[in-house]
């Protein structure tokens, strides 16, 4: 989905609030949220794709104004409700107030994952172009490279396609490629001497 999570290249954000030495957890609740996320994804057997998509479905305003540990909490609670471990009513009763969950799935379930792609179509040095395609569901193809041309720098073996595993019990395996894009090909205001590498599944490429 063309969700708020797909942040690469968006403008208007200010300075990075950076501190060189940050603890793993600033507050106890963050460690608990981390643990609950692991417990829920285990209990419902969520794939990486399904888990990430449950964060991507957060309401955009909530996404942008909450920390990543709150994203994990929201995703854990959303999956727990969707898989019937708890109900939203129970969560709000216990929390004594609103417990915002992620929005509904926009993409239908995928019944058949399709055929694996065993052999890479491309090698290092090949020029490739990213498909201009807007999935209603989960994808790991960032918006800022769609339709853009780049050069393969590395082939990384076959991996489960996120677009399938987020919406199916089936799996499809395809090679992934690390593709180098010159900044001046990505952005009208691309900075000189800059390239951006994006790792892409085979079916993301034309």
């Amino acid at each position: 989905m063309d969700g708020i999570h797909d942040l690469g290249g968006r403008q208007g954000f200010g300075a990075v609030t950076h501190s060189p030495a940050e603890p793993a957890f600033h507050h106890h609740w963050e460690a608990v949220a981390r643990a609950l996320m692991m417990i829920v994804t285990d209990a419902v057997e969520a794939s990486g794709g399904e888990f990430r998509h449950s964060i991507e479905r957060m309401e955009p305003g909530h996404y942008l104004t909450s920390s990543y540990y709150e994203h994990w909490l929201t995703a854990a609670a959303t999956l727990a409700v969707e898989h019937g471990l708890v109900t939203h009513t129970e969560l709000e009763a216990r929390a004594g107030g609103r417990f915002p969950l992620s929005g509904p799935l926009l993409a239908p379930p995928v019944a058949d994952g399709g055929a694996d792609v065993g052999e890479p179509r491309f090698r290092a040095g090949d020029r490739v172009r990213v498909r201009e395609w807007h999935s209603p569901g989960h994808t790991r193809c960032p918006g800022y490279v769609r339709g853009k041309a780049g050069t393969v720098v590395r082939v990384d073996g076959t991996h489960s396609v996120p677009d399938i595993e987020a919406h199916s019990t089936g799996r499809r395996y395809e090679p992934t490629y690390s593709v180098r894009f010159d900044a001046t090909d990505l952005w009208r205001d691309g900075q000189y001497g800059v390239c951006v590498h994006v790792d892409l599944w085979d079916s993301y490429l034309e």
């Binding site: 942040l7 603890p23 957890f25 608990v32 708890v86 929390a95 417990f99 790991r140 992934t176 390239c195």
Partner: protein, 197 residues
């Protein structure tokens, strides 16, 4: 770590939500005894940038190890005992006088947990994810990493299964240091690529 979770009257809304989910999952028998404490301990004392620093120091001290690290990152890192979730497919990219590498995850928060631990908040926040692929030279300078204009910048967006570790340049004047002393010089930021040493 704060102790504020022990005073129910002072719970913030997000703490109340965490407590609610924890209580309901505990009642359903899904929270193993001691699991939360174990996760906290693991990420506070076992898994963190001190692991990556050992990898970098070994690469500086041992040219053959460095070759293996750059050719087969996952296997070379496993030689030092590090690996596991979010570190199954490691690629190490080397900074030189002419090339600077920096890592980002524009879509979420992908990060090499076994060698760097959980990512710092700023790495997961929108400004860093939005800007690093579009204006890395300006953003790095803002973050205190001024690069000469002729240094090429290579940004790595961790959008699939590979996780990246930057091998920083060994600082001058460290020739006589032991590997342990070298590891003490290596910062988390230098292994993400937002700082040079």
């Amino acid at each position: 770590m704060s102790e504020e979770g022990h005073h129910p009257a002072a719970l913030s809304p997000v703490e109340q939500r965490v407590a609610a989910l924890e209580a309901l999952l505990t009642e359903r028998g899904l929270v193993p005894e001691g699991f939360i404490e174990e996760i906290t301990r693991r990420y506070e004392s076992e898994i963190g940038p001190m692991n990556g620093a050992k990898v970098v120091a070994r690469a500086w001290a041992d040219p053959e190890y460095k070759q293996r690290l750059l050719a087969e990152g996952t296997a070379a890192i496993a030689e030092l005992g590090f690996g596991g979730e979010e570190g199954e497919h490691m690629v190490v990219v080397e900074n030189t006088a002419a090339v600077h590498n920096v890592v980002v995850c524009t879509l979420c928060s992908c990060y090499p947990w076994p060698v760097l631990g959980l990512p710092p908040a700023w790495y997961k926040d929108p400004p860093y994810r939005a800007r690093m692929v579009r204006e890395p030279r300006a953003l790095l300078a803002e973050m205190g990493c001024q690069l000469p204009g002729d240094v090429e910048i290579r940004v790595w967006d961790s959008s699939a299964e590979v996780r990246y570790l930057v091998l920083p340049q060994r600082p001058p004047g460290t020739e006589r240091m032991t590997e342990a002393e070298l590891a003490g010089l290596v910062t988390r930021d230098s292994m993400i690529g937002v700082a040079r040493l």
